[in-house]
Symmetry: C2
Subunit: 474 residues, 2 copies
């Protein structure tokens, strides 16, 4: 699919088509030759590198260590936890031939690494002194898809998967909460994406978990997205895999486990959430290029380098676009499309007058800054853009979270603006399935801070204790 | 395989067994459940992270951008370059079932990414302005092996693969040389591993390359190892994949390409090269822990933190081992086994006297340093250790590179000390094959700086122009 810049659909008219085109036009990703696969282009991958650097710092500060486990899992190993294999079976890619020979036992390409990691954890953990064990890996995983929706739905994706083992359930649960706290903070502070933290219903949980926490975000058009999850695995894996330890009284016990993951899917959420009719809008903290410098014809390159050097020293990611075979207008379009937070235009006149012109991608605001103040002002303005983008996204989330007191109001919201719907639910899976069947809305989560109340289920009107969040998923 | 610390074989007696055990005992790697696969444990993976950080900085400084291409390659795509597919076919892992269905076309798990990348490069490159194109990816690749030799020979390994496309052969060849320069510098300066840079013979080249540069290093026991390679691909791929560009005269031309890679195999070389009978010996630049601090019973933890804080601020990677259920002797053994460059022992007396005791892993030298000088001295000593380790490795390489003037001398060296052998070769593949069959020694490379001379082939005595390096490969 080849588009030219003029082909960008208006986001306000067709979000889905806009998304497909902006991903191609901003050079974020391409389609791979195998169905469901994608190629992450350098500009898209640089966003992933910024996400990785941020999250990797967070987990290391908490004592989590990176490791690497094999891509290939023997089929028999995957089958050790019943719910787990049942959940993943329909999505598996299976190797049956290797080294020129038919294999005796089929090998599964990892869809997630619980089973292959936990077999080994059983060897690593012997005593209470070996706990907590906190391991993470950055890797690729495969869950078969027939249609590619770049970043958001792909057969292969990149992610981090954290896996921990603890002596007590309390200690494990603290880690489940800690991981979700870090995700929520990362999403707010770096992605400028506020969301809801809550518990998944039994039917929406991770295959093999006792409890799944999720961070749910709102997309333009009113659809919602599960952005990352943190699981309380209880002893569901430690029992079949025999991960035991001698406690301080020399008794043998099974460990309590957690796992939590964040994937390249998050880049899809970032693109969708912030763009507009002119293209991407990247929050400064995740922008591979924070300032695009556009010299106007005739501007002395040496003097421009002198101006940009202090910016780079201040840690700002700067790109000078001196492609003088393209008009200034065309270069401006390119950097708007690519969502660069700040544009700096500079010609001979500006150089002589000791000023530069800055243009904000978020507000379109255009203003001049003196050369002497440039580095300091740019750093300040980037912070302002980051804060402003979060603020806008918070307004959008608040304005699109609605209470539905009865089923007709519930359906009306879904027929109209959609977004998040707060409604009492009796917690009967049959009711949940009925709602999903009829409205395509699923339970997103029970917010962690939801108080216990008295109400009646939005569908069956039986007693209900909590207002859950519902929405139509991407 | 479970060993206890006492089970470390003497390196001087059995290098191969020592290697297997030190990998397990120092917690660098484990065996995966599928034949040929390995688990890189946190301590081993931290070494890989240091290698990655160093090399990633180098390539980005040269304008190379990271990207990510799919793991899965359609079989038909791999077949587009004849020599390439022939070289890799025996090692492929093949997916035949996915999403619960038999696939129409088989899918290969990437053994390397030339074919999948270059199909896409054909879309990315249109004009001379799009060149040079410089892309790299950090990823996993699979080349089937029946036996695992951790790091050195595994079915799945991690690597970086750089791929560039250029308007001219000269420009491409400059990149082939540049990549090899960076590898050689990384190996010398970070790994403390000197080696020979040279050209591979036609039979030892990468499948699909016109020319392969290699960095060859020497291992204890006299075997040699190809540590990384940089390939001149000519137009061998751009023609079948149709990667063309309009040059400045609007003529259509095929691009010239390069690829170059460095893998987790390099960690195997690092372990083998530097260890001794007590375990690993890590050069400070690749040591996840540079200073192991061992408080002696009774030493006040608060005062020890006060001492280590300035070290951490100076960028030194410090680990305080206060496992007081283990004796000091046992803790010393552990950190020697793990190859930590510098050990710091500190008890109440040292705290009161304002000194600490430092012990160098490379020389065993033990000395005292005043608290006030600690950070500065530690930084200096780490540099000295790094330099000393390189120096020792250089002596070893020089002492084990020998000239063989005739075939009996050649065989005598291989029967005795082995190492690198410098010998005239007529460049006839038949001679090379004969030598390999009879002596297990292969041509390693023609050093880039080898002068043209007049001599006669070490085997057939026909005219030869160059002295090649031979050796028995790991």
């Amino acid at each position: 699919m080849q588009f030219t810049k003029r082909d960008l659909t208006k986001k306000s008219e067709d979000v889905s088509e806009w998304y497909t085109r902006v991903v191609a036009l901003a050079e974020l990703a391409d389609y791979g030759p195998v169905k469901g696969t994608m190629i992450i282009r350098p500009y898209g991958y640089a966003i992933w590198e910024l996400i990785q650097a941020d999250f990797d710092r967070r987990i290391k500060a908490n004592g989590v260590q990176n490791a690497y486990f094999p891509l290939f899992i023997p089929e028999s190993l995957l089958k050790k936890e019943a719910a787990h294999v049942e959940g993943f079976s329909p999505e598996l890619a299976v190797v049956t031939i290797a080294g020129g020979e038919e294999l005796g036992e089929k090998i599964v390409v990892r869809p997630t690494s619980e089973t292959i990691m936990y077999q080994t954890f059983a060897n690593w953990v012997q005593s209470w002194r070996d706990l907590p064990l906190k391991v993470n890996q950055w890797c690729n995983v495969v869950r078969w898809e027939k249609r590619t929706y770049p970043f958001l739905r792909t057969s292969e994706f990149l992610w981090q998967e954290g896996h921990t083992a603890h002596a007590t359930h309390d200690d494990a649960y603290e880690t489940v909460l800690w991981a979700m706290d870090e995700y929520a903070d990362l999403y707010r502070e770096a992605f400028a994406l506020p969301g809801y933290v809550g518990r998944k219903s039994a039917s929406e949980r991770f295959a093999g978990a006792d409890d799944t926490l999720t961070y749910e975000v709102l997309m333009p058009g009113g659809k919602v997205l599960q952005s990352c999850t943190s699981h309380d695995l209880g002893q569901n894996f430690s029992k079949p895999f025999g991960i035991t330890f001698q406690d301080q009284d020399s008794k043998t016990q099974h460990v309590w486990q957690t796992s939590w993951g964040l994937s390249t899917r998050s880049i899809g959420a970032l693109i969708l959430a912030h763009g507009d009719d002119s293209g991407l809008k990247l929050p400064p903290r995740l922008a591979p290029i924070q300032v695009a410098v556009l010299p106007i014809k005739g501007a002395d390159p040496a003097r421009i380098s002198e101006l940009t050097r202090p910016l780079m020293h201040a840690g700002v990611r700067v790109k000078v676009d001196d492609a003088d075979h393209e008009s200034l207008g065309s270069r401006i379009n390119t950097w708007e499309l690519k969502g660069v937070p700040l544009r700096m235009e500079i010609g001979t006149r500006e150089l002589d007058e000791g000023v530069v012109t800055l243009v904000r991608r978020d507000t379109g605001e255009k203003f001049q800054v003196a050369h002497a103040d440039l580095a300091q002002r740019v750093v300040e303005v980037l912070d302002e853009i980051q804060a402003n983008m979060l603020c806008e996204a918070e307004d959008f989330l608040r304005d699109n979270t609605r209470d539905a007191l009865d089923y007709s109001a519930f359906k009306e919201i879904l027929a109209g603006p959609r977004g998040f719907i707060r409604a009492f639910w009796c917690e009967d899976p049959a009711c949940e399935a009925f709602i999903k069947e009829e409205t395509k809305a699923t339970t997103r989560c029970l917010p962690l801070d939801a108080p216990e109340e008295r109400g009646s289920c939005v569908r069956c009107e039986k007693d209900a204790k909590h207002r859950w969040l519902f929405g139509q998923a991407y």
